[in-house]
């Protein structure tokens, strides 16, 4: 079975090959390179599944493959780490990538796009980078591919580069995430310089080194070991916050919707945005050493979940609703990881990848149906016209809203449960829990507002009355993801396990290494490192039931409100009644404004001032020195009059002066 691991490099290399081939000869390929991408990602999926099966068989893989650069103290290398976490993620990424490639046949090819070879080449490059990131065995390699997925995101958001807003959005996305990556890179450099290794796993990993430094009470760079680990962890977190669009670096994601919807589904919902959260999970042992860093992760997550969900309520563009929903959902994952819910966070990551890719592709189907209209107020009544799109979208919506028994319910509930039981022990975390809980209500509301406005009621425009048909390439991915959105929760039915005692928390066992795991990278080892205490209201079961009832009640309340307001033949813009609040929400709490202000009204004028200073003062001095010497030589030049008598006079004067000097020196006048 170990051959699965020997073939592991091909998981990433296949899409890379597709990238190269499509880039060079895509124009003359069938479907402009789509098939090359489909074949490559299908190959990656098969190999990923094989790797997953191999891990299930108890084997893991942690292998350095290529030495990138080496010095005396440290060697940087590329390697592959396949353990339960990365094997799972490989399957998620290659599956979604494959489905998006297929969907693109219907969404891009059939819509007569130009530049398709560029599109498929960039998708291939993205899939390569993302897969390589996922199974990177060290932090530097992870950083490198983390940056490369950022490049692909830039290229694909700006795919329609002739549209000014698309190229502007692409720039913003790269710049904001770059700002986060700045801190990440300091973190990488700092970890390398502190511990002399960047490996995620094994005896020589930086996690083990950090643990030893803390237990040994060492002083690192003038700080106590734990403080320094916290600082490094928070620096890396900068990259996470940028990539996973967490507050305050979330502003790029809604703009990124300028890209093709397929790109939004793959990159800005299911995979690249997940890279940040995945990184936290990947180096969870490191964060487990720092309660402060974990608490910050929890609060950033909880706040973002609520904050973004509230903005989703007032959006009219179907992709914008999904964008804010994505930010909010990644907030849940961060909350889960921050409160020690490693399994819950990863579980939600997986479910979200499926149901959000589904919703985005569903939105793509809606956009085809609507002849490229994205405003939900122009939709309505699509339910009967496109049942496949409707029912799959509904499945995704139920999962997103967290309605039992759809997949999202199980994972979101587990996140909230983990936050609650920690909060009962350390009340400060109750605040994070409360934010996550209130966000459930908003989520239910905006999700079903979107569903009702889009699919229910009467058609509100010509396009909605006469929708464009959708083909099999569109329907097939929707159906696959729709099924997953319904059933994926089955892998970790923790509440039912607690009630019945049945051993059905497969994902927890999976991540805990009951099948096979790299030492140090298992759930219980993380748990020991954190040493979190938890309490319950009454009993564990009672707490669980109370929490689930609460969140389910809120989800139903939100969905029910949307039902009464929007599930009518002629819905009105009820959010207008929010008045000033709507304005604040509609303007995203003026987050974009202040960031644009920082860039355009602070940094740019500052740089112009620096430029003026440079031109006038620094270059002024240079030019000044040269004009002094020009002026001086101009004066000197006057000595050269060309009149012989002047020279004779100067000669005599000079001679007399010399005589006087010699005289004084020689003591003649004494």
């Amino acid at each position: 079975m170990a051959t699965a691991f020997e073939l592991a490099p091909a998981i990433a290399a296949l899409p890379l090959a597709a990238f190269v081939v499509v880039l060079l000869v895509g124009d003359s390929m069938p479907k402009k390179g789509a098939f090359a991408g489909i074949i490559a990602t299908a190959g990656s999926l098969v190999l990923s599944l094989w790797a997953l099966a191999t891990v299930a068989g108890g084997e893991v893989y942690n292998q350095e493959l290529y030495e990138w650069a080496a010095g005396e103290e440290i060697a940087f290398h590329f390697g592959i780490l396949i353990d339960p976490l990365s094997a799972l993620m490989l399957v998620i990424v290659s599956l979604v990538a494959l489905l998006v490639h297929v969907f693109s046949l219907g969404y891009m090819n059939e819509e007569g796009e130009t530049g398709l070879p560029r599109y498929y080449a960039e998708l291939g490059l993205f899939t390569f980078s993302m897969l390589a990131f996922v199974y990177a065995d060290n932090l530097l390699m992870a950083f490198m591919f983390f940056e490369l997925v950022g490049l692909c995101s830039y290229l694909l958001i700006g795919f329609w580069f002739r549209t000014p807003s698309a190229s502007s959005a692409a720039k913003k996305a790269f710049l904001v995430t770059r700002f986060g990556d700045y801190f990440f890179l300091i973190g990488v450099v700092g970890i390398a310089a502190t511990f002399g290794t960047l490996s995620f796993a094994g005896e020589s990993s930086f996690v083990v080194a950090a643990e030893e430094a803390i237990s040994g009470g060492e002083t690192l760079f003038g700080f106590g070991a734990e403080t320094w680990v916290t600082i490094l962890g928070l620096l890396v977190l900068g990259g996470v916050i940028g990539k996973s669009a967490q507050f305050p670096l979330h502003t790029w994601l809604p703009d990124a919707m300028e890209g093709p919807t397929t790109v939004s589904a793959l990159i800005h919902a299911a995979t690249m945005v997940a890279a940040g959260v995945y990184l936290v999970a990947r180096m969870y042992g490191f964060y487990a050493l720092s309660p402060t860093a974990l608490a910050i992760i929890a609060f950033v997550g909880g706040f973002t979940a609520l904050f973004a969900a509230s903005m989703g309520v007032v959006k009219d563009d179907i992709k914008q609703v999904l964008a804010y929903s994505t930010i909010s959902q990644y907030g849940y994952m961060m909350l889960g990881l921050g409160v020690g819910g490693y399994v819950a966070g990863v579980f939600h990551l997986m479910n979200h990848a499926f149901f959000k890719a589904l919703l985005f592709l569903g939105a793509g189907a809606v956009i085809i149906l609507m002849h490229h209209e994205q405003d939900m107020w122009k939709m309505g009544g699509l339910k009967d016209q496109a049942p496949v799109a409707y029912y799959t979208f509904l499945a995704g919506a139920l999962a997103l809203a967290g309605i039992v028994p759809f997949s999202g319910f199980w994972s979101k509930d587990e996140v909230l449960y983990d936050a609650l039981i920690l909060g009962l022990e350390e009340p400060i975390f109750l605040i994070a829990y409360a934010m996550g809980l209130i966000a459930v209500f908003f989520t239910g509301f905006y999700t079903f507002r979107m569903v009702f406005l889009t699919f229910h009621g009467e058609p509100r425009s010509e396009a909605a009355r006469d929708p464009h048909p959708i083909g099999a390439a569109v329907k097939l991915p929707l159906i696959v993801l729709g099924v997953l959105a319904v059933v994926a929760g089955i892998v970790n039915l923790a509440p039912i396990a607690k009630l019945t005692g049945a051993e059905i928390v497969f994902l927890e066992h999976w991540l805990d290494g009951e099948y096979g795991a790299v030492e140090g990278l298992t759930y219980h080892e993380y748990h020991e490192l954190m040493g979190h205490e938890t309490s319950y209201i009454g009993s564990e079961t009672l707490t669980m039931l109370l929490g689930a009832a609460l969140s389910l009640g809120l989800a139903f309340a939100g969905a029910g409100l949307a039902w009464t307001l929007y599930n009518v033949p002629e819905p009105k813009e009820h959010t207008r009644r929010l008045g000033r609040a709507r304005e604040v929400l509609g303007n995203n709490y003026y987050q974009d404004e202040y960031q644009v202000w920082l860039a355009r009204d602070l940094t740019l004028p500052f740089s112009r001032t620096a430029d003026r200073f440079d031109q006038s003062v620094i270059d002024g001095v240079v030019n000044g020195v040269s004009s002094v010497s020009l002026f001086g030589s101009g004066r000197m030049k006057r000595l050269q009059t060309g009149v012989v008598t002047n020279y004779a006079a100067l000669l005599v004067l000079g001679f007399l002066a010399l005589l006087v000097i010699f005289g004084i020196n020689g003591g003649w006048f004494v």
Binding site: G71, F161, R162, S167, K171, G190, D611, D614, V622
Partner: protein, 508 residues
Amino acid sequence: MILESLIGVALLGALVTFVAPDRIAGKLAFAISLVPAALSLWMFTAFDGSGNALLDGDLAFESRMEWIALGDYSISWFVGLDGISMPLVALTTVLCSLAILSSWTPIAERQSQFYGLILFIEANLIGVFAALDFFVWFVFWEAVLIPMYLLIGIWGGPRRKYAAIKFFVYTNVASLVMFGAFIALVFSLGDGVTSFALPEITDAMLAGGPEAFAGLEGATLSSVVFVAMFLGFAVKVPVVPFHTWLPDAHVEAPTPASVLLAGVLLKMGTYALLRFNFTMFPEDVISTFAIPIAAIAVISVIYGALLALAQTDLKRIVAYSSVSSMGYVILGLIAYTQFGIGGATFQMVSHGLISGLMFMSVGVVYNATHTRMVTDMSGLADRMPIAVGILIAGAFGYMGLPLMSGFYGEFAIFYGAFGSEFLDYAPLFTAIAMFGIVIVAGYLLFAMQRTLFGPYRLETDYEVGPAPLHDVAPMFVLLGLIIALGVAPELIFEMITDAVDPLLGGGA
């Protein structure tokens, strides 16, 4: 004798090209330049040197003969390569060939003289990196200035005279300061030193340093000379505040001259800093100035990047960004660690390739549009997709995208600097300098958005179409090299560290 033939072919080629008719000068010069390029690539694969050239290392392609006796001192023709100079020589020859190719479109007047001067520069640049006798080195060093002065002054833009004279006088005065200081140092080293061979001078410096000279204590003299030489080279690099000649020179220079100026001439400054200041002087002298030099480095990075942000002329943007990138090199040097100095040397080569690519890209845009102003154009990607594609790749290279050479250069410097025990507050200096990677993304993305994307708009009475092959081909070659070094930095980093290690060990 291989180095001599490298220099000789370029020199002879320059002469031949001078007298050749304009019609064939470009093709002739390109053909000739392929000889040193091919030779140096062969040398690169056959390189068998080890250690540092100044610290009793085994030189590759060494050649030494007595030349002139000057009182108690002798001057010898002494050339050879170590792991630091070998990549730079290869960079020089490759970049010269590509620069010649990229001149075919823009250079229409006095072609034979133009190409002759390029080959003449090439000969001298090789000499600068190969020479190991101070006098020989200095002759090459100064001789580089003349052809560059003429290239800017004759083929340059509207303010070419001002720019050319500023370039010449500024860097020449700096050379004078450095020359005076170095000669004083040599004379103060006492009877042990009988030649101007750099290894011998280095031995004497590290063994005991200078005696009292001209009323100064030996130790004071060391410091004074260190500072004077640092200033002399700093102008060439250039670091803030001695950088103002650079944007003027770049803006006025024709594209191929900019390519060589940014690609190789700036590296003369950092190379000389490494060879002289950071190799000949003992650790305690350097460490006295560690904080100010690191401060200069950080200021160059951030201030240079801010200046680039304020520009609207594409060439000025790339010119100021060179100041920023060279700041990283200085930071790496003063970190005084294996990865710091090694990374700095790597960055010299990498920046040579990337800035060369960027100037070529801007040149190709200019050839097609006759403007370089960001505000004048938009949507170029529509008209010249391949050239724009490479430009985007080059820009991301400049931003330090992983798997391209710029990332490794910067990463190695950051890593080497962060943990440096030589430099106080090293993590702080490093973290501040690293912010440059955000600003560089800011101005390059902004410029690309304005010029390349959006609807096509450019008011011209001529057709803007794809660039010709001989404009795009050199860009492809550079991009290939940039990616190759990014994927496999060990291609040159191994030989670089081999030459850097003895230096950190305090001598052989």
